[in-house]
C-alpha cells in the first residue's frame, strides 16, 4: 500500500509539474498521446466493420471523369447472384424470402453505415413511383435492432451453438445473428475470406475462455465449409447446372449459401416493400401477417410481388418491434427450416410450419398468385442491376504536397441533399460509402443523357427529335426542377449532360454538386460560389453580376435545354472568358453577345431592374439587336405556337417575370396538346439510342496507385503521420495474429504485418496494394507473399480463377505503382497529378477513338466553374 501511494505521489508530482508548465510555459506541455489524437482504436474498430464498395459492386468501367473524381458504372454483386440463382430455384425462393428478412436487417454488426446502405439499397429502384421514406416505426426499429445486435454479439456461445445445432425458436434471436455474421457476404472469394476474418476478429475480442475458443474454431470451420460451398454453388449456378447435394454437411452449407443469396436480394425487395407498407395502416402491420389478404391498391405490373413482400415486411416490422413475440420466433424457425432443410431438429418445426409453406407452394389463392408472380419480377430487365458510382476524391494537389482536404463542398452538398430528396425525376441516391479517404455515392444507373441523345440526332446528319419526345422530356425536367425549388434547392448546373434518361424513358436530373439550399441562408449565394452554371446555360442576371439571384436561373437553363432539344445545338454557344490570375470574375462578353443576337437587347421595359446590375454599364457597349427568337425557331423547323410561347417565357430576361417551374408545368404546351404528355420519353419510338459508352481500361476505383504514392509522401513529410501509421500497424497486427493462432493457418506473419495497413476490411486486392508502401523495390515479392496468405485464408478455395484474375491485374498495377513511387522519391511530390494527367490523357485518347463520339461533343463543352 505504501509503495502504491508512493507511486501515486510520484505521479502526482509529475502532474503538478506538468500543470505548472502549462501555466508558466517552462517545460514541454503535456500533450495527449497519439491514440487520443488519432482516435486509433475507434478507427480500427470502425474500419474493420466497414463493408467496401467493391464488396457490393463490381466496377464495369468509368463513364466520366472530372476534377472531383470519376463516375463509374457498376453492377451490384448481390443482385447478380440473385438473378442467376433464381433461374434454378424459384420454388424455394418465395418461402425463404418471406422469412429470412428479419435476420438480414440485423446483419450488419455495428456497421451502421453498411446497414443503412443495405436498407437504402432497397429504395425503389424497380418502382420509382413508390415513395421511399421508411416509416418512422420501421426506422426506429432498424436503429434499435442494430443496437440489440451489439448486445447479442457479446454472447458468442449461444450463437455458435445455435448455429451448429440449429436450435429451435427459443434461440432464434441470437441464432439469426450468427447466421448473418457468417454469411455476411455471399458474393465471392475474397469477400468471404474478408468477412470471415472480420467477424472472427470481432468475436475473438470478446472471447476468452477455452471453451469459447473451441466453439470459435468450430464456427470457423463451418465458415470455411460454407464459403467453399458458396463458391461452388456460385460457379455452378453460373454454369447453369443444377445443384447436387453431396454430403449432408455440404448440402447444408449449400442451401445456406443459396438461401443467403436470396436473403440478401430479398432484403432489397423487402425494404422496397417497407416503403410501401408505410402507406398501409399500422394496425394492419401489427396483425398476423403471413397469410393476410392484401388490400393495397396495386400500382404497377409488378405489384403482385409487391403485395407479397408487403406481407413480409409486415412480419418484419412486427418481429422487430416485439423482440420476443411469437411471430418473430415463428418466422425465425421458419427461416431455419428453409435454410437447413436436412437438419433433424428442425423437422418438428417444419411440421408446424407446414401449412404455411404449403400454402405458398400450392393452394390458397392469394399466396399462389404471389408465388407465380415472383419469377415475373426476377425477369425484369437487368438494368436494375446497374448503378452509377460517383467517386469524390478528398485529396487535392497543392503546390507543395498532396493534401488531404476532407470532403469537398460539392461532395458535401450532393451527399446531404440527395439523402433528403426523393423524386421520380431526380437521380436516386442508393447508398453512400466512405472509405479510403474517398466518398462513393451510388446512384441508380441511367443509360442515356440528353447530351448523348442530342448528339445522336445531330450526327452524322440532323434528324429532329420527335415532338412528343421533347414534350415528355421537358415536362419531366420541369417536374424535377419544380420539386427541387419546392424544397428550396437551386440546382445551379442544369445542362443536357446533367439530365439523364433511363432505359424506361424516365428523365432524371442529376449532379447536385452545385446545388444549394436557399432556405435559411447563412451566407449569400454569391459568397459561397462566385460563378455558377455552365456558361452556355447561365442566366443573363448572372452574367450581369447579380449577387442575389432566384430559382429563375434554373428556368433559364431549362429554356436553353428546351431550345437545344429543338435546334440540336446550344442556342447561346458563347466562348467563355477565362478567369484571370487575380481570380476576379470576368465579364462574359461573348456569351452576352450570343444571347442578345437571339433575344434582342433588353430594355428598361422588358427588364425594369436592369440598371441595378453591377455590369449594367458593360451592356451599353453592345450594338442593339432586335428580338430574333421567332426566326430562330422557324429556322429550326418549328411550327408549334405553344412551343415558342413557352420558350419565350423561359427565356425572359427579367428573372421576376420569368415563368416558374410550377406554372410552366401548366403551360398550354403541356395541357393543350393533341396527346397527353407521355410518361415514357421513348414512347412510340421505333429506334433505340446507343448505350452509354464505358471506358473499361481503368477500373481501379480505389485509386490504389495514388494512394500508394500519397502514403509515401506523407511518410516523408510528416513525422507525426509516421507515428500514427506505426500505431496502426501494431494495432491491427494483434488482431490478425490472433486470427492466425486460432485458425491454425500457416500464414507467414511478416506478410501479415504488411497486410494490415489501414483498412483491414478492404478486400484482399487493396490489402496487397498497401504493401509496397513499405518497400517499393520489393513490391512484387510482397505481393506474391500476400497472394499466399490470401490463398491460405481461402484455404480450400474452389474458384481460384476469379482470384487469380484479380491478382494478375493487380500485379500490373503494382508495377506501375512502383515506378511512379520511384519517381516520387526522386522528383518530389507531384505524383498524384502526374497520374491524373496520364489518366486524363488516356481517357481522352479512348474517347477520341470511339466511333460514335458522344464524348467528342463533351470535349468542347466548357467545363463548369466551381470556385469557393
Amino acid at each position: 500500500m505504501q509503495r502504491i501511494s508512493n507511486q501515486h505521489q510520484q505521479q502526482m508530482l509529475n502532474m503538478k509539474n506538468a500543470n505548472a508548465s502549462t501555466l508558466h510555459g517552462k517545460s514541454p506541455m503535456l500533450m495527449a498521446n497519439n491514440d487520443v489524437f488519432t482516435i486509433a482504436p475507434y478507427r480500427s474498430k470502425k474500419d474493420s466493420n466497414r463493408i467496401s464498395v467493391l464488396q457490393k459492386y463490381e466496377i464495369i468501367g468509368y463513364i466520366a471523369a472530372g476534377t472531383y473524381g470519376k463516375v463509374y458504372k457498376a453492377k451490384s454483386k448481390v443482385k447478380a447472384n440473385y438473378s442467376t440463382n433464381n433461374s434454378n430455384n424459384t420454388n424455394s425462393n418465395s418461402n425463404i424470402n418471406s422469412i429470412t428478412n428479419p435476420s438480414s436487417s440485423n446483419s450488419l454488426n455495428g456497421a451502421l453505415s453498411s446497414n443503412s446502405a443495405l436498407n437504402d439499397f432497397l429504395n425503389p429502384i424497380r418502382w420509382p413511383n413508390v415513395p421511399s421514406n421508411n416509416s418512422k416505426a420501421n426506422n426506429s426499429n432498424k436503429l434499435s435492432n442494430i443496437r440489440e445486435l451489439g448486445n447479442n454479439g457479446s454472447n458468442p456461445i449461444t450463437t455458435t451453438v445455435s448455429n451448429n445445432m440449429i436450435h429451435p425458436s427459443s434461440q432464434s434471436h441470437s441464432n439469426r445473428n450468427t447466421l448473418i455474421d457468417m454469411q455476411k457476404h455471399p458474393y465471392g472469394v475474397d469477400r468471404n475470406s474478408n468477412s470471415n476474418s472480420t467477424s472472427l476478429s470481432n468475436n475473438l475480442t470478446q472471447m476468452k475462455s477455452p471453451r469459447k475458443h473451441q466453439l470459435q474454431q468450430l464456427q470457423f470451420q463451418q465458415l470455411q465449409q460454407q464459403q467453399q460451398q458458396l463458391q461452388q454453388s456460385q460457379s455452378q449456378s453460373q454454369s447453369q447446372t443444377q445443384l447436387q447435394p453431396q454430403s449432408q454437411a455440404q448440402s447444408q452449407a449449400h442451401s445456406q449459401a443459396h438461401s443467403q443469396l436470396q436473403q440478401q436480394t430479398q432484403l432489397q425487395r423487402q425494404t422496397q416493400s417497407q416503403s410501401q407498407s408505410q402507406s398501409q395502416s399500422r394496425s394492419q402491420s401489427q396483425s398476423q401477417s403471413q397469410t393476410q389478404p392484401q388490400t393495397q391498391p396495386q400500382v404497377r405490373p409488378q405489384s403482385h410481388s409487391q403485395s407479397q413482400s408487403q406481407s413480409q415486411s409486415q412480419s418484419q416490422s412486427h418481429s422487430q418491434s416485439q423482440s420476443q413475440s411469437q411471430s418473430q420466433s415463428q418466422s425465425q424457425s421458419h427461416s431455419h427450416s428453409h435454410l437447413q432443410p436436412q437438419s433433424q431438429s428442425q423437422s418438428l418445426l417444419r411440421q408446424q410450419l407446414q401449412p404455411q409453406s404449403q400454402s405458398q407452394v400450392q393452394s390458397p389463392p392469394q399466396s399462389q398468385t404471389n408465388h407465380q408472380n415472383s419469377p415475373h419480377l426476377h425477369q425484369s430487365p437487368p438494368v436494375n442491376n446497374l448503378f452509377a458510382i460517383k467517386k469524390f476524391k478528398t485529396e487535392r494537389d497543392g503546390v507543395e504536397q498532396v493534401h488531404y482536404t476532407g470532403i469537398s463542398q460539392s461532395a458535401c452538398r450532393e451527399m446531404s441533399l440527395c439523402r433528403e430528396l426523393n423524386n421520380k425525376h431526380l437521380t436516386k441516391l442508393v447508398e453512400i460509402f466512405l472509405e479510403r479517404k474517398s466518398i462513393y455515392l451510388v446512384y441508380e444507373y441511367a443509360e442515356h443523357d440528353l447530351l448523348q441523345i442530342i448528339h445522336f440526332h445531330s450526327h452524322p446528319e440532323k434528324r429532329m427529335i420527335p415532338q412528343r419526345m421533347i414534350r415528355s422530356i421537358m415536362w419531366q425536367i420541369l417536374d424535377g426542377v419544380s420539386y427541387l425549388h419546392q424544397n428550396w434547392i437551386l440546382h445551379r448546373d442544369l445542362k443536357p449532360a446533367n439530365i439523364m434518361v433511363t432505359v424506361d424513358g424516365v428523365v432524371k436530373i442529376g449532379d447536385l454538386g452545385l446545388a444549394r439550399k436557399f432556405h435559411n441562408m447563412v451566407q449569400t449565394l454569391y459568397t459561397g460560389d462566385k460563378v455558377v452554371v455552365t456558361i452556355w446555360y447561365r442566366a443573363p442576371e448572372l452574367l450581369l453580376g447579380a449577387r442575389h439571384y432566384t430559382p429563375a436561373i434554373d428556368l433559364w437553363a431549362v429554356g436553353c435545354i428546351f431550345a437545344e432539344l429543338i435546334g440540336l445545338q446550344p442556342i447561346f454557344k458563347g466562348e467563355e472568358a477565362k478567369m484571370d490570375s487575380k481570380k476576379t470574375v470576368p465579364f462574359q462578353v461573348n456569351q452576352i453577345q450570343r444571347i442578345l443576337e437571339v433575344l434582342g437587347t433588353p430594355t428598361q421595359k422588358t427588364w425594369p431592374n436592369l440598371y441595378k446590375y453591377p455590369e449594367f454599364d458593360q451592356l451599353s457597349k453592345f450594338q442593339k439587336f432586335r428580338d430574333n427568337l421567332p426566326n430562330w425557331y422557324h429556322s429550326a423547323g418549328g411550327k408549334d405556337r405553344n412551343v415558342l410561347d413557352l420558350l419565350y417565357k423561359l427565356l425572359r430576361y427579367d428573372p421576376i417575370s420569368r415563368i416558374d417551374a410550377i406554372n410552366a408545368l401548366d403551360h398550354d404546351y403541356f395541357t393543350n396538346g393533341h396527346h397527353p404528355v407521355c410518361n415514357n420519353v421513348f414512347d412510340g419510338l421505333n429506334y433505340k439510342y446507343p448505350a452509354r459508352r464505358i471506358h473499361t481500361h481503368d477500373n481501379d476505383i480505389m485509386n490504389l496507385g495514388n494512394n500508394n504514392a500519397n502514403n509515401n509522401n506523407n511518410n516523408n513529410n510528416n513525422n507525426n503521420n509516421n507515428n500514427n501509421n506505426n500505431n496502426n500497424f501494431t494495432n491491427s497486427n494483434s488482431i490478425s495474429s490472433s486470427i492466425i493462432n486460432n485458425t491454425n493457418n500457416n500464414v507467414n506473419t511478416s506478410i501479415n504485418v504488411n497486410s494490415n495497413n489501414m483498412n483491414s476490411n478492404i478486400n484482399s486486392i487493396n490489402v496487397s496494394s498497401s504493401n509496397n508502401n513499405s518497400n517499393n523495390s520489393n513490391s512484387h515479392m510482397h505481393n506474391h507473399g500476400n497472394n499466399h496468405m490470401h490463398n491460405n485464408m481461402n484455404n480450400i478455395n474452389n474458384s481460384m480463377m476469379n482470384n487469380n484474375l484479380k491478382n494478375k491485374n493487380f500485379n500490373q498495377q503494382i508495377s506501375t505503382n512502383s515506378n511512379t513511387s520511384a519517381t516520387a522519391a526522386l522528383g518530389g511530390l507531384g505524383v498524384n497529378r502526374r497520374i491524373l494527367a496520364a489518366a486524363a490523357a488516356a481517357a481522352a485518347a479512348v474517347s477520341g477513338n470511339n466511333t460514335g463520339n458522344s464524348s467528342d461533343s463533351r470535349k468542347y463543352e466548357p467545363q463548369r466553374k466551381r470556385r469557393r
Binding site: K16, N133, H403
Partner: protein, 341 residues
C-alpha cells in the same frame, strides 16, 4: 426532403421514441461497461483537512490520493452526465464565437455531436477533436464553410493539449462522423418554427405581439435546449419552439410577477399600479397563448415533457462544476494512456 421537416431524414431516420432512445443508450452503456471495466483512475489533489494514514501529503500541505471513478458512475457518460453535456455545449459555442460562426451552424454542430455521442463513447474518441470536426462539417453543410487551417488553429489555441496541429486529423475524423451520422446531414432547427409561431400569434384571432425581450429570451432558451439534447432527438422542432415560448410567456413572467409582488410590498403606489398593469398584460398574454396551444393541436404531452426537461436542465446547471469535468477529461485523455487497449 430538405424543404420541410415532415419529410426530412431528421424525422424519418433520426427521430427516436423514448423506448428506442433508451435502447440506444443502454447499448452504449453496456459497451462502455464492457470496454472500460476499470473505470477511470484519477489522482486527487485537494487541500488537506483531515489526516489519513493512507494518503500522503505533499509539501504544500495538499492531500494526494488516488481515486477510482467506477465506470458505472455517472461521470463521463454522455447520457447521464450533465456536467459533460454542459461543458461540451460550451466547447462548441466557444469555438463558434471565436470564428464568428452563425448560431444556426453551431446548432447543427450540436446535433451532430449529440447524434455521434449517442453511438460512441466519449472515452473512445477525443471530445475536443469531435467538437472541432462537428463545427467544421456543420459549417460546410450550412454553406458557410470555414478554412480548415483557421478552424484548427483556432481550436488549438483554445485547447492546445487536445488538438493535434495536423488538420488532416480533423478531415479524417470527419469521415467517421459522417459515417456515424449515416450521412444524414441536414438538420431542422426550432428557430424557424419559433418565428413562424410568433408570426402566427400576431395575426387574428390571437393578436399577441411579443416584445423583443420575450423573443430574445425564447431564443436563448432554444439555444440552451441543445444541452438537453434528448428533446432534439425525440421531438420535432416546433415542439421545442412551443415549449420555449411557453416558458418565456407563462412561466418566466409568473416568476417576474412574483418578484414584483415581493419587491413592491412596501413601495409606493405608482410602481404598484405599474406592476398591476404589467400583471394584467402578462395574464392576458398567457391566456392568449394557452388558447393558442389548445387550438393548435400540438402534442401537449411532448411539450410538457420538453418543459420539464428544460427546467431540470437549469437545476443541473446550478450544480455545474466545470473544474471537475475539465479535470476528468484531463485525466481521461492525457493521464490515462492505457485506457484504450
Amino acid at each position: 426532403m430538405s424543404g420541410s421537416y415532415w419529410t426530412s431524414t431528421q424525422r424519418s431516420k433520426w427521430q427516436f421514441t423514448r423506448q428506442s432512445l433508451a435502447r440506444e443508450r443502454a447499448c452504449l452503456w453496456n459497451t462502455e461497461l464492457q470496454q472500460y471495466p476499470n473505470g477511470l483512475n484519477v489522482i486527487m489533489d485537494t487541500p488537506s483537512k483531515r489526516d489519513n494514514n493512507n494518503n500522503t501529503t505533499n509539501s504544500n500541505g495538499h492531500q494526494i490520493y488516488a481515486k477510482n471513478i467506477p465506470i458505472a458512475a455517472r461521470d463521463l457518460h454522455w447520457s447521464k452526465d450533465y456536467n459533460l453535456r454542459i461543458y461540451s455545449y460550451f466547447l462548441i459555442m466557444k469555438l463558434g464565437r471565436r470564428l464568428n460562426i452563425r448560431q444556426c451552424a453551431l446548432a447543427t454542430a450540436q446535433i451532430y455531436m449529440a447524434r455521434f455521442l449517442l453511438k460512441v463513447s466519449v472515452r473512445e474518441i477525443n471530445l475536443f477533436l469531435l467538437v472541432t470536426t462537428c463545427v467544421y462539417l456543420s459549417c460546410k453543410v450550412e454553406e458557410c464553410p470555414q478554412y480548415i487551417r483557421t478552424l484548427v488553429s483556432e481550436a488549438r489555441s483554445l485547447w492546445p493539449e487536445y488538438i493535434p496541429p495536423d488538420p488532416t486529423k480533423v478531415t479524417e475524423f470527419e469521415f467517421y462522423l459522417i459515417e456515424e451520422l449515416d450521412s444524414y446531414l441536414i438538420v431542422h432547427h426550432p428557430y424557424n418554427s419559433m418565428e413562424e409561431i410568433i408570426k402566427c400569434l400576431k395575426q387574428e384571432p390571437y393578436n399577441l405581439k411579443l416584445n423583443n425581450e420575450d423573443i430574445q429570451n425564447c431564443w436563448s432558451l432554444i439555444n440552451d435546449s441543445y444541452i438537453i439534447n434528448e428533446v432534439h432527438l425525440l421531438y420535432s422542432p416546433h415542439i421545442i419552439a412551443v415549449s420555449c415560448l411557453f416558458i418565456t410567456i407563462c412561466l418566466r413572467n409568473v416568476k417576474s410577477i412574483n418578484n414584483y409582488n415581493n419587491m413592491n410590498s412596501g413601495v409606493n403606489e405608482d410602481s404598484r399600479n405599474n406592476t398591476n398593469s404589467n400583471m394584467e398584460i402578462n395574464k392576458k398574454k398567457q391566456e392568449i397563448f394557452n388558447r393558442f396551444l389548445a387550438e393548435s393541436q400540438i402534442n401537449l404531452e411532448e411539450v410538457m415533457d420538453t418543459i420539464q426537461q428544460t427546467i431540470t436542465l437549469y437545476e443541473h446547471w446550478e450544480s455545474y462544476q466545470e473544474v471537475w469535468i475539465k479535470f476528468l477529461l484531463h485525466a481521461l485523455y492525457l493521464r490515462n494512456p492505457t485506457k484504450m487497449n
